[in-house]
Amino acid sequence: MELPRYHRLRSTFYRLQASRCAACQATYFPPRPYCLHCGSRNLEELRLSGRGRVLSLTRVYQPSRGFSDGVGTLTALIELPEGLRLIAQLTDVEPAEVETGQEVEMVVRRLRTDEEQGLIVYGYKFRPVVGARAAEGANSA
């Protein structure tokens, strides 16, 4: 039922595709057809690095339908080095271990399972950058 919808969203959900205004360089996630800053409609594709920093977070005890295994998980407002923000779930982390300011990186995970259709929806989540992965990120930067 929602198959075409998630197919359309694959470039943002799997690759964090954003957009940049060719006229004024303003960046947008999600991508949009008109620049809010200068009005231009000449926006180009921009691939984000997938790195970020937690600006705010919340532990959720009353999830939406289809997310019932999300009780007690973390939702975070994440600031990206490209000057953008987005909201996503955190994964691979104990809720007590994360604070604002935490460095995070994007991974593709299961968002939810449509119980009637058996459709599994995948998309971006973020996990803390720790130890070796942090060093690796620093070297390649």
Partner: protein, 383 residues
């Protein structure tokens, strides 16, 4: 454009109406408002409703309510602006009368939320956010407000306990409102011990899931006194929008739509904030109350919580808010709340505020907010 006045109001009690359907509630409020104006039939009906399709499997709601209220045939349309739908219906009704398109118009706000289990309601409410980039990621409405509340607390140095005055005041005011859902007081301890919905937002920071409908009748001001001795003028009516998503906003802790709609309303009247006698604000969560006070320029930035702590929001304070309990304690049947605010403001201005009457009030403001403050509708009423 013609001046527009409110000549009748009606409301159902807010609560969990197991025995009453969507149509029962809508018809009751509509007919009560018409009866208050001494009318049998309006020229048009605008129905403010957020999610009857998901909550009750009923769309084409305005046709249903015109039909069952006893006047099929009239122009009837549903108006949707998330949690601000009720106020948006009043805005559209005001436009219809001001433009000369119709003379006698009913705006009714309605929501029936308790037919579904809580996860279904949570999903339905999340449709007011960005479906692809918020809701699809399991981001609930409460979670969005929680992200904002935590940011606000860290930025301005508040604790959870500092938000208690909003809740205590709302519940105090609801005790004597016969239409309110929670007619009981809460203590600071109750507030601190309330279970979390999404940290730092607890159940007591949040307005309840409930059912209700409220309605007003509008007509041109020059005809108002032929229907009632106590018409109330709509001095201003203004809607504004912001980005649908929270994350893309330049200034996360600023309600741009609320600011814009309030200032359009101030400009329409020539009034300044200090000339407003009371403010029915959108206390869906305590953080929304704080940011609404700031956006409408009653408090400086970061001072919305302090404003409440200094008791300015009490019935006898500088700016009484939520005078009949607000969304928190009167209840928040989402698409109806904006209409309840207008009904309560009219009652205050007519001197029908009961034990919660604001003394000598002449000018009242009501602001309803939808989505993650992505849309706001402000009305200023006066006598």
């Amino acid at each position: 454009m013609r001046d527009v006045s409110i000549i009748g109001v009606g409301q159902t009690p807010v609560g969990e109406h197991w025995a009453h359907s969507l149509r029962d509630l809508g018809v009751e409020a509509t007919r009560a408002a018409l009866a208050d104006a001494g009318l049998e039939r309006p020229d048009a009906l605008f129905v403010g409703n957020m999610v009857s399709g998901l909550l009750c499997q009923q769309e084409n709601l305005a046709t249903l309510l015109a039909d069952f209220s006893g006047f099929p045939g009239i122009e009837a349309l549903k108006i949707e602006a998330a949690c601000a739908s009720g106020a948006a219906a009043v805005r559209v009704a005001q436009l219809a009368v001001a433009s000369g398109a119709h003379d006698l118009v009913v705006a009714v706000g309605i929501e029936k939320m308790t037919d579904l289990a809580i996860d279904g309601v949570t999903s339905a409410l999340a449709t007011a956010a960005d479906a692809d980039y918020e809701a699809a990621h399991g981001v609930t409405f409460t979670a969005l407000n929680a992200l904002l509340m935590r940011l606000y607390m860290e930025r301005y140095g508040y604790t959870r306990a500092d938000f208690a005055p909003f809740v205590i005041t709302a519940h105090e005011n609801a005790v004597t409102n016969p239409y309110a859902m929670f007619r009981e007081t809460v203590t600071p301890e109750d507030f601190l011990n309330s279970p979390m919905v999404a940290e730092p937002i607890s159940i007591l920071d949040s307005s309840p899931v409930c059912d209700g409908a409220a309605a007003v009748v509008l007509c041109p001001s020059d005809r108002a006194r032929s229907f009632t001795e106590q018409p109330v003028k709509i001095l201003a009516s203004a809607t504004a929008t912001d980005t649908i998503g929270l994350a893309p906003r330049k200034d996360l802790l600023w309600f741009g739509a609320a600011y814009e709609s309030a200032h359009r309303a101030y400009r329409q009247t020539g009034l300044r904030p200090e000339e407003v006698d009371f403010f029915e604000l959108h206390d869906a969560f305590t953080i929304v109350s704080a940011l609404s006070l700031e956006a409408a320029c009653f408090a400086e930035r970061g001072q919305g919580v302090r404003f409440a702590q200094e008791c300015h929001i009490h019935r006898n304070g500088k700016l009484p808010i939520c005078t009949q309990g607000g969304l928190k304690a009167r209840g928040h049947p989402v698409g109806a709340s904006g209409a309840y605010q207008i009904v309560e403001a009219v009652n205050q201005l007519r001197g029908h505020g009961g034990p919660n009457q604001v003394a000598n009030c002449r000018v009242g403001m009501a602001q309803s907010i939808g989505g993650m403050a992505s849309v706001a509708v402000t009305h200023i009423l006066g006598v």
